[in-house]
């Protein structure tokens, strides 16, 4: 069947759209106020009210990619896309266009993380054209681990993609960096690479959950009551003081219930671990242990 110009199919005020295709009922048989369902009619193009583009005979388009690194203005192949990412290393999407043009109201993309590292939807990242950018809950966007996903829906009123939903996937391992672990001065907290047994996190918007297990670390010089741990992914803490249960610790002398917290007046990019009763740590060599999981608010 020959496809007539797009405008032919457009419903225009005062013009009844019927009888254009042979399979549709004849105009003479159409009764006013009656809805006719035509089984062999297909949607070839669809319009946002201004332009027409291909609809490929279905609503959901599956698109695959293996891109890594920072992606600005990533081009989607349709208005409703399941984007499967098999990225070998971390990927950050800072914005999406649709079929080479600016997105329009209601456009949707679900980004599936089929890689083994991380996938992030950036928040208002300026690398992308303004109308292609994403608004998230966190200033750092949303990051997901393996098997995670993020769904974005385009908000035409504000000309931005909005994070509609996400599955955070598996916990994201935080690699060892010696400088990430410090004691409240003048105490020195030393965590060697072989001491970091587990350190991972999951981000739920502006809520940060972490599991941290450390064996045989050291506390030296002069005892204080706090050790600091740097947040991953450039996260910063939100609001004022925060406390949450963390787990337990051993400082070479006794086991203690341990808390996790923040104090942005001291550090905005670190969380702290301290004893439940705020007692000082005992100094020791290679006999400091931390076991637990905690959560804090982030920007």
């Amino acid at each position: 069947m020959t496809l007539l110009p797009s405008g032919t199919y457009r419903k225009t005020k005062g013009i009844i759209r019927r009888g254009i295709r042979a399979s549709q009922p004849l105009a003479i048989t159409v009764l006013e106020g009656t809805l006719y369902f035509v089984t062999d009619e297909r949607v070839i193009e669809r319009s946002n009210g201004t332009t027409w583009d291909s609809y490929s005979n279905k609503g959901l388009i599956e698109q695959t990619t293996s891109v890594t690194g920072t992606q600005n203005d990533f081009d989607l192949n349709g208005h409703d896309v399941n984007l499967i990412c098999s990225n070998a290393s971390a990927v950050i999407f800072n914005g999406f266009k649709v079929l080479g043009a600016a997105p329009t109201t209601g456009d949707k993309v679900t980004i599936q993380h089929n890689g083994i590292t991380t996938l992030r939807a950036g928040h208002q990242e300026t690398g992308s054209t303004a109308v292609n950018r994403i608004i998230g809950e966190s200033l750092r966007g949303q990051i997901v681990g393996a098997s995670g996903s993020i769904t974005l829906i385009y908000d035409g009123a504000n000309s931005r993609w909005r994070i509609d939903n996400y599955n955070v996937g598996t916990p994201i391992t935080i690699p060892y960096v010696a400088g990430d672990f410090t004691g409240a001065s003048p105490m020195v907290f030393t965590v060697d690479s072989g001491d970091l047994i587990a350190f991972n996190y999951r981000q739920f918007g502006t809520r940060f959950y972490t599991t941290l297990t450390i064996y045989t670390a050291s506390l030296t010089v002069t005892a204080t009551g706090i050790v600091w741990v740097k947040l991953p992914n450039g996260f910063t803490v939100s609001g004022g003081l925060q406390n949450s249960p963390y787990g337990s610790l051993f400082d070479g002398v006794a086991w203690a219930v341990a808390m996790m917290g923040t104090n942005p007046a001291t550090f905005t990019d670190k969380f702290q671990i301290f004893k439940f009763d705020s007692a000082l740590y005992a100094l020791n060599n290679n006999n400091t242990y931390f076991f637990g999981s905690g959560q804090i608010n982030i920007d």
Partner: protein, 129 residues
């Protein structure tokens, strides 16, 4: 701070008493720390100096022969690690007892806190479990 790790597999079928094991390892090297998950026989021992074969043999022997964990040993560990507040409670009672002991027709010598804590620890063996 330099860190040197050595892996061990304990030749035993029981879980060693954690406190005794730690004390025995620290007796060999005061910088030693133990990495171990309860339920398996793998140990990773960290210390601040390079391992010698003699040290490896000594630690292996400690891992193999340290006493197994029992409720009594765990209780003794707990007593050894009583908090300051618990010890203060015991000390207050000891002082009262010492006053009475001194006022007996045949006065008895005062007891120290350490003597009392040792006595409490010794009573662990007499508690039915």
């Amino acid at each position: 701070m330099a860190a040197f790790y050595q892996f061990f597999v304990a030749v035993r079928n029981t879980e060693p008493d954690r406190y005794t094991l730690r004390a025995n390892i620290l007796a060999l090297d005061s910088t030693a720390g133990i990495q171990h998950e309860v339920g398996n026989q793998d140990y990773k021992i960290k210390k601040g100096t390079v391992w010698t074969q003699n040290q490896i043999n000594a630690v292996q022997n400690v891992l193999n022969t340290s006493p197994a964990s029992t409720p009594q040993l765990s209780a003794r560990t707990e007593i050894k690690n009583w908090s300051i507040s618990q010890k203060a409670f015991a000390l207050a009672l000891v002082k009262q007892l010492n006053t009475i002991r001194a006022a007996l027709p045949t006065p008895l010598p005062p007891m120290t806190l350490d003597q009392v804590l040792a006595a409490v620890e010794a009573e662990v063996a007499n508690v039915p479990v």
